[in-house]
Symmetry: C3
Subunit: 439 residues, 3 copies
Amino acid sequence: MVRQDDADMTGADEQPAIDLYRFVSELFPINRSLTGAGVRETLKAVARHCDLSVHEVATGTPVLDWEVPREWNISSGTIKTLDGRCLVDFAENNLHVLGYSRPIHEVISRSELAQHVHTLPDQPDLIPYRTGYYADDWGFCLRHDLWQTMNDESYRVDIDSEIGPGSMTYGEFFVPGATNEEVLLSCHVCHPSLANDNLSGISIMTALAMRQSKRKRRLGYRFLFLPATIGAITWLARNEKATDRIKHGLVLTCLGDSGPFHYKQSRKGDVIDRAVAHVLKHEGHAHEIMPFNPYGYDERQFCSPGFDLPVGCLMRGVHGTFPEYHTSADNLDFVRPEALEQSYRSLAKLLDVLDGARTYCRVDGRGEPQLGRRGLYRAIAGQREAGGATQMDLLWFLNLADGHHSLLDMAIRADVPFARLQSAARLALDAALVREITS
Amino acid sequence: MVRQDDADMTGADEQPAIDLYRFVSELFPINRSLTGAGVRETLKAVARHCDLSVHEVATGTPVLDWEVPREWNISSGTIKTLDGRCLVDFAENNLHVLGYSRPIHEVISRSELAQHVHTLPDQPDLIPYRTGYYADDWGFCLRHDLWQTMNDESYRVDIDSEIGPGSMTYGEFFVPGATNEEVLLSCHVCHPSLANDNLSGISIMTALAMRQSKRKRRLGYRFLFLPATIGAITWLARNEKATDRIKHGLVLTCLGDSGPFHYKQSRKGDVIDRAVAHVLKHEGHAHEIMPFNPYGYDERQFCSPGFDLPVGCLMRGVHGTFPEYHTSADNLDFVRPEALEQSYRSLAKLLDVLDGARTYCRVDGRGEPQLGRRGLYRAIAGQREAGGATQMDLLWFLNLADGHHSLLDMAIRADVPFARLQSAARLALDAALVREITS
Amino acid sequence: MVRQDDADMTGADEQPAIDLYRFVSELFPINRSLTGAGVRETLKAVARHCDLSVHEVATGTPVLDWEVPREWNISSGTIKTLDGRCLVDFAENNLHVLGYSRPIHEVISRSELAQHVHTLPDQPDLIPYRTGYYADDWGFCLRHDLWQTMNDESYRVDIDSEIGPGSMTYGEFFVPGATNEEVLLSCHVCHPSLANDNLSGISIMTALAMRQSKRKRRLGYRFLFLPATIGAITWLARNEKATDRIKHGLVLTCLGDSGPFHYKQSRKGDVIDRAVAHVLKHEGHAHEIMPFNPYGYDERQFCSPGFDLPVGCLMRGVHGTFPEYHTSADNLDFVRPEALEQSYRSLAKLLDVLDGARTYCRVDGRGEPQLGRRGLYRAIAGQREAGGATQMDLLWFLNLADGHHSLLDMAIRADVPFARLQSAARLALDAALVREITS
């Protein structure tokens, strides 16, 4: 039986070990894509905070139905007037070049350029984010306002990039627990300068990795920093046998904006869904629960047939529904320090719920135990000032400590915050009224 | 594995092979009852359109708890004044004589006649429909208005009928499928000139029988044209062992009026209930789902203990709740050609859903398959103009193609019309991403 | 197969065998506590109406996690002014002395007395009810109004009581049934002059015990008159092996006030919950269904882990929520004869439902039986005047008599009063259409 220290069980009001917003800001300028130097630089920054394993998987490696793509790197990209005025520059904003653009150095007509230009006519002051991973293409993403003013007959376009054999890079950090059961946490690391849709997840997950490695743990925690889709597929392909250890999982994304939380349920419906709903409800956060669908982030891989892992997705803003999504407006103004910290604290509480959702069995025979002679009424009165268990919480705990209800099941049935039933459990353990059932 | 041609899978916007309303009109004048010449004539008309087997079961044959009744035939029935004026004439409307009336040729007092006269005081201009199958009785059904004017002391009543040993007649048409699994469709053929409550079902079922016999089929289709109650009981008694092949069933009645659809669920709750609800919802028809009860049409026999088959009942107007029910107003004005055709089309779509509710399993390993290299994004774009699958439909299909979800389960979870998931299935089959699971 | 007489099945409109209110009045003056003479006197009064077994369990006997407490008896208790004026007298109202007060004979200062005085500042004209079962204490319960006027420097306090080895007393009455299955009914007998919270349960349960012993019974009925908590624990400890016979159970309390019924569900969710909800609904009584929680009356013992019996709790007023609760206002004015009788009748009907919830199976083969040739249409018409089964009730019965539905299941699905399906069952039994399934 694993017991946590009291200090470990009091929840998650603590500050993250890193300044979340500062870490987002540090990573913001880096040009990330599915592969290449930007991903490596990002993972190196994460590795300064936790003992991250960085994996390189060679181009062409078969992974399930896919294969690892060629590596892309880019050093510059510009559109210039023929008289040398630079109108569009990758160095200013890395969204300007279509992801996976092949190199080009040419003077071309405006009409030909138009075939390679992406703008947002409805948001004319924003640069869109576009990629062409598996197309052999090149392109530029521009403010529509600017494009409207570009009426020369020809322009000089230059992209210094390389696409070729190399490798795909992903990061993994595993904190073992006292049992073989694991929680999987995953974020994507393949978007360039987008703050909410990418960096919020990386920053919060780094802080959670630091947090979990310093706590006593029943469960193991596996933190995956993955290029979207192909990264998840690669990880699944290389760890197929280990996936049955994953008891709960969560994809983290878009957690830095100031909107309400959105939780997308797992395909199969599992403990993770009940745990997230419980935490969001009792934290008092505005939130919406959304049913599973096979679109979105890497939960669609983790929940694919054959694996069908119990993995949901926690977001604030939902991809495709906020105006800043996949534009230059998803920047350091859009993401707020307070929102990042609130997301972190809710997730820390969630991990405490998952880790603390132990199952207990009464050892003192049947019926209701006598609380008075064990000093438990007094103990409860003492806790009350500290927000601990009430007498009713203790009665719920003792009533449901039958080996068939986890602490989370109990908290949901009693409809009180998890931490209060956890306090009740501690009182009962101290009084030797229950023992933990280990699965 | 059975594959349908594309043409077979595009749904049911086609016209019925017969003019439904004309067929109702053709059958309307015939005097039907539980037994007798009228049923035979009706089934002969049906047999002109499909290869119907007509069964004769001798009077007195024991069938479960019942026995086949004596045969009734009638050639005329009148009430006349003593000076020979004909007031009520079976030849004018076959509702005028109580079903199974024994012969009578007498002059009787008005007060004695009153014991044998049925009217509708609240609908004084309508003739009621009444029968006395198992009573040894005779009677007349009249407009209450007329009865009010009949103040003579005596009247002459004549009924030329025969009740005696003979047989009961029912029709059966079976279209075999590629598997042993069957869909049972049933309507009643024992009501005289009632258009909605009888003929709408006969007409639509005839057209459906013609339709199904011309299509590639996974399932077999069994069409039963039965005298109500005793016909169903007789069929069950003679086919007891075959009933475990029936995977879905539907009783059809009152499908020619212009009201909303009503679907009464099966006793056990089964795929048929979900399929009908899905089709009615996505067809956009006003409809109401009603729980099973042990009254109504022959679903009460099919859902009786011992059998408990998955059989529901589809109606527009519900027996006993519309003013025309079991009166002379349930006539060729009450039934509308458009309503008949709409009912037919919804049922055709339903049969396509039942037949197409196959189960698939991914053959390409785990995770999400790569759509791009198989040209599936392009294929979807091509379909979109034809109302085919969207990318999301294809993702739902591939996500749920785990051998545990039928196409109907998928369509319900995705909440999109069945045909779109069927299109997605076809794309995935063509790309060799899935194979069908045969049960 | 056990058949009840018709007279036994017609429900529960009968009068209770004793005057419920008079019995409450008779028991009201007695001073009850967990142990002692008052409990014995109360059980002796109950035993005049049924063959009650009275059990004495010695102080110190270990029972599960508890032990039987010392016995407490009291003969007098007063607070007097030093000049001999009696201000507070146990002889006037037995609530005046804290339960389990130790003896005291002293003159003490007002300020010291204040440590031992309990009042209700918000209900200044009422005496509170308080106990100190397991504390070694003494005390008085007073009207706050009176306490406010007591400004002398010192008072003389006298309590003539004894606490010491002795025994705890409880009563049990068992009426065997035709089967081994039992219904447990329980009330508490440990409160002094409180009419609703104690005596209403004792009075109604006595009448129910008399009623059940005079009826033919499928089930056995076990009536427990218990000191709360320790009585239930003691009974459970001494009857551990017999508890698996208990198929339904109910704790009765606060059934004499005029408020709506409240039913608290069992922990496990079982037939008792459906039966009570069915009866309260079809009796047309205002009522509320409350989910289980581990607080309240002895249902918390019966539903504790290890036992987890199917026991709910029926109340009108809910403990702790009505202003008279645990005060001198819970008296003979608060309890109403009509309310007691209505509660009795609903419970009598409930017991008839539990006893009558037999399971039947059709013996006449499959399909719907022919009602006409068995005279069942005529039989139903005859019953209708007596509020018996309708034709629809009989069809429901015959449809669900498949060996898998109890009569209660049928009544709930048909949504009609239980007695009507019971009448239908009797018709079908008389017609030899069904046989009872004995478990």
